[in-house]
Amino acid sequence: MGNTPGGLPYHLGEPVSSYTDIQGWSLHAGTSKADKSPVSIFKYNPKSTNLNGNTTASAQNALKLAKTMKHPNVVRCLDGIETPAGEILIITEPVVPLLDWLTTTRAVETNQDTFANAVTLGLAGVVRALSFLNNDVSICHGLFSHHAVFVTSGGDWKVSRFDLAGKVDAGFLDRHQLLNRSYQSPERSSNDRAVLRNMPLHAIDAWSLGVLIRTVYGGEVVRTEDLQNTSKIPKGLTQAYQKLLKGTPEKRLNINRLLSLKHLQDNALVKSMFFLGKPLNCCVVCARFPLYLALSKEPQKKKDGSTFFTVAMVVLGTCPNVCFFFPAVVLCQMKS
């Protein structure tokens, strides 16, 4: 176990064999020098032979967003640095790649219902994260695949790898084919720039989420025809799955509609873990100086059209670490 480049206070451990040189990134085990606590280290190698063209700008974008993005289902970044040699390191909470976790959990959990519950909890978390990106922050992830989903020791699925995250601009259009071919929507495969520029933002990640659902339940997608096989997908998810994979981008389901999907939300495990976890309605109020407003209950609509939040919690923080939170009992009224 060696030192991390750039003098960060972490030991760089062995790479995870299943996550080596994925679009230039490798996942390493690591430990903190201070308290020996385990961490994960994402390491970007600009000299990777597996890269098509210059992806340094994407990797820098990944570092920037990993440090600033705060959400219960986004991999928590502890530190990050870009070395003079062009290597980029992102230190995060300890996580494992999704496919590794699926293999291990499938072997450990002999009860099929329990395993299905664990997957449902994971998918519900991923849906929260993508809905947050697409609708609350108004950016697309762009590189969403099983390589962008990681699992914590508690079984939370979290999103990372924000290489292409942002608005659909010239930079995105130049690099959007960095995504695995099996996760590319038809307009991305054909590199139809006009369609990509004008399509709704949520349609980009909606297709990728559909492919991820197919991958989780039915194994990796090799051919496009595999997507039409819905036999292994739970019945409660089938309709949403088909709407996520609509050929026309405008008709694709917005991921925020899945937040109220019975299969994902009406589950005892999901409800319990969201109860124990971070607030459901946590949102960034002010992006310049992050001010989080965490609402304990769903807003209540009043007859005059106003919305009441009965209990709320305000979290005040600076990037990259949230420093203070102020749990507060407040009565908010918002005119819609």
Binding site: A118, L121, G277, A328
Partner: protein, 161 residues
């Protein structure tokens, strides 16, 4: 607006729930644990239960604002998982805790920790909650340390130690 506390982490959902909601949550948790994956029991439910017991247990209430025994029932159920949850027989740890208790409370003789905890009296709530917190926190800590030695990266549950 009342300023209640401040810290370095984003607060958990449970902290902003009413005592009634927490009561029903812990009450329903016991039945639901059978359908929860082991890693969730170990890394999410167990820390939440032990931390709720470790603070404020002297008043007969947990730090979550619900009565201690409500939290104890799911905790005992987790204890039953024993070997499946932690990878080695649970009996050894019960015996170890019996010894510790014997030295701490010499006038109170115990033969079987788990048998006695099923007959909880309010006067003994603090003693038992403290003992059980000790059981699970020590088991969890030892287990985490073993995991770090053998699996420096993967902290999730594996089949055999």
């Amino acid at each position: 607006m009342f300023l209640l506390s401040c810290g370095r982490i984003v607060p958990d959902e449970i902290m902003i729930r009413t005592p009634e909601e927490k009561f029903y949550f812990f009450q329903s948790l016991t039945d639901q644990l059978d359908h929860f994956p082991l890693h969730v029991c170990k890394y999410r439910v167990l820390p939440a239960l032990t931390s709720s017991l470790s603070l404020g247990a002297t008043s007969g209430e947990t730090s979550m604002g619900v009565a201690g025994p409500i939290v104890l029932v799911p905790l005992l159920k987790l204890g039953k998982l024993g070997n499946a949850l932690f990878g080695w027989p649970h009996v050894q740890h019960v015996q170890h805790v019996q010894h510790v208790q014997h030295t701490q409370h010499t006038q109170h003789t115990t033969h079987n920790t788990l048998t006695h905890t099923t007959h909880l009296h309010h006067t003994h709530t603090h003693r038992w909650t403290t003992s059980l917190t000790f059981i699970f926190s020590s088991v969890a800590r030892d287990h985490v340390e073993r995991r770090r030695v053998h699996h420096p990266h993967y902290t999730g549950r594996v089949k055999n130690v």
